[in-house]
Subunit: 415 residues, 2 copies
């Protein structure tokens, strides 16, 4: 047995014990983790520096180096997040359905942990603490498989977590790091149905696609967001401009940022220049169709690919349409079913948009940037699901649970 | 494009329309389907006879021929089931969560159809009508891929369904049969993520395993049940005997039948003969461990495989244990996480069993045979999920739904 299988087997052996752990014990472990993180800032920074140096000599971009970097503030933020997690209600044991059958059987559906969660992610070491703590709060064991570029940081963080768990009543095998970062090991993880209950990939589109295509372990697919804002003919000018600017520029690198704005021609006739002015002012580069370019010369030609991609930067595609139906059709063809918004003062059109656009989150007169576990009030987020099974949209603690039916009888048999 | 891709694409094109169909329209279509089935009994029997004849000359077993056979009664039962489905509440549109955020955003989570469901099943033609009607009631489009041995029956049934849909306001592409029964076509279906939202395999362990291993489309895994009844030291003698006999013999061929009985040695000391007498009386063949065989010579030797398999016939494995923990360990090693039961008068032990046994359904003092959508009061069943994501245990109409977040704003942007 290699490292992966050995650790996965250990994790699966403690799932029953973890599932039976009380809320108090789990919260105590989270508190210890928070304290240890605060006490070990120097050690964590020193280990992280090794990854940063290696990253630099491997020519990682500034953006990637920034994602990889731990700072005193970032570590303190992690410690604070752990304390906030303590305050959230524990979903485990919650009765979600209850009935008494005519034959006297008492039936209850209760929330239980999923079991063993395999987390496959890229260079952000904060995911290590984030995933470990959310899994722990929900009584799951977690196998963490980060990228080789963050291996020193991840080892150090899991070391610190283990020292905290050793002081708690939870087994330290609840959180395990797979130190072998070979691609074949990740692919073996995709198939380890004997020990893993679910895989959660977090990272770029390529990573997620690879997991979805190859895994036989059930997957919670997260992430890719090709989000649109549609400005209807009756949209309020200032509101529409403010929302598009916010959705595009407030944090362009994230999945709920806007990638294409679709404008009704009747709105464009009167307000298009304000919209383009505001976007250009914020440094946005616009690529549009012929109709958009006829209205404003600052817009360059959009290629077929521009409608398809997540730019994740200050580029925005612009399309002018004759009617709502054309907007809905474009979103159906190019959207990633993550988040879509309509700005309109016509109720009928809003309802049509809500009915005929298929996405995890649909907005009327608000920015796409709100699709987020914290903004939705869940208090935590393990990712944003773009699949339709199990959980769709921002996933909080409940998404990390399954259920059990408990049936109490008095000798009932089936006739 | 081959038949599969053409039909899948058509199905995906009508999902928005189907999702927007009213409960009344869907119920009207179900009523028309029920009437058409009743009117076409002769045609259906004639077409079914072709499959039966082919099956006979291909040497199908009597059991398989029986599963394949349509009779007047069976068709009438299908028609009645459709009328019963009309009475069930429509889950689509149901608001399952609602909140107002501090920034004034109004957030609602509503149930929507999954989209396009791929149903892969074996020789039972009744699954054709069953799956079509449950998918239709929940606003889903369905691609049916039955086995070649039932192709004439399936074509005839889908013909009848189409004639009903043509009279309704629903598009007939809501229900489509893949007539090409080649294995490669099924395997192409496993990977058709562009058009299919979920696959539901129904049939034997081999079929299900193949779908789970190879599919990149998300799977709702159904079925395999290696279920245990554990008789604790304090179990009431008559109740324990009645429950084991019922769980084993009432319908041995189904997934919620009992495959192994585990007996506490202290109970066995006094009551084992009654148990064995009752089982042998019902024609059950017993295979046990050494301890069981020492207690009763009518028990033959159980092999390692006997603890692992779903017998699906009148064979039962018997194990005698020293304590509850040993029973829980055995279930953990061999159970399929479907249904497990404890017969006991000791509350502490029942709670320990409920906490440490991981399965979709856990019973105290009742037969395992109750794990069923109808017995649970769901009014319908698309299968019994043995996975932990999305739905676990009997799946009714709600299991065929996903969700959308609808967020109403007044110009909110994120700061």
């Amino acid at each position: 047995m290699n490292e992966l299988v050995t650790k996965a087997k250990k994790a699966s052996e403690i799932t029953a014990k973890l599932g039976a752990t009380s809320t108090e014990e789990k919260n105590e472990a989270l508190k210890l983790m928070s304290e240890k993180l605060m006490n070990e800032i120097d050690y964590l920074l020193k280990e992280n520096e090794k990854d940063i140096e290696a990253g630099r000599s491997n020519g990682l971009s500034d953006g990637l180096l920034d994602r990889l970097r731990l700072t005193e503030t970032r570590i303190k933020d992690m410690a604070t997040a752990l304390l906030q997690l303590i305050e959230l209600p524990d979903p485990i044991g919650e009765v979600t359905f209850e009935t008494e059958r005519p034959n006297g059987l008492e039936l209850k559906k209760i929330r239980v942990p999923l079991g063993v969660i395999g987390m496959i992610y890229e260079a952000r070491p904060n995911v290590t603490v984030d995933a470990a703590s959310l899994c722990l709060k929900t009584g799951n064991a977690v196998l963490l498989r980060g990228s080789s570029s963050a291996i020193h940081s991840n080892k150090a963080l899991v070391n610190v977590i283990h020292r905290a768990l050793e002081k708690s009543s939870l087994p330290k095998e609840a959180v395990q790091l797979i130190e072998d970062t070979k691609r074949e090991t990740a692919e073996q993880m995709f198939k380890l149905t004997e020990y893993l209950d679910v895989l959660i990939p977090r990272g770029g589109a390529k990573l997620i696609q690879s997991v979805v295509e190859k895994a036989s372990v059930p997957v919670l697919e997260t992430g890719v967001g090709n989000c649109h804002v549609y400005i209807d003919d009756t949209a309020n000018e200032q509101m529409a401009v403010d929302i598009v600017v916010n959705a595009k520029t407030q944090r362009p690198s994230v999945c709920n940022a806007c990638e294409t704005v679709i404008v009704h021609q009747d709105w464009a006739k009167f307000h298009f220049t304000s919209l383009v002015d505001a976007l250009v002012d914020q440094g946005v580069e616009l690529r549009g169709d012929d109709a958009a370019r006829k209205l404003d010369a600052r817009i360059s030609v959009a290629t077929e690919e521009d409608w398809q991609v997540e730019f994740l930067n200050l580029t925005l595609a612009v399309k002018v349409v004759n009617c709502l139906e054309e907007a809905i059709e474009h979103i159906g063809n190019y959207g990633s079913k993550h988040t879509e918004a309509i700005i309109s003062e016509t109720e009928k059109n809003v309802n049509q948009f809500f009915t005929f656009v298929d996405a995890a989150a649909l907005y009327h007169n608000a920015s796409t940037r709100f699709t987020d576990g914290f903004e939705f009030g869940f208090g935590a987020e393990i990712g944003i699901s773009t699949q339709k099974l199990h959980a769709r949209g921002p996933m909080g603690l409940e998404a990390l649970t399954s259920s059990k039916y408990i049936i109490l009888g008095t000798g009932q048999i089936r006739s």
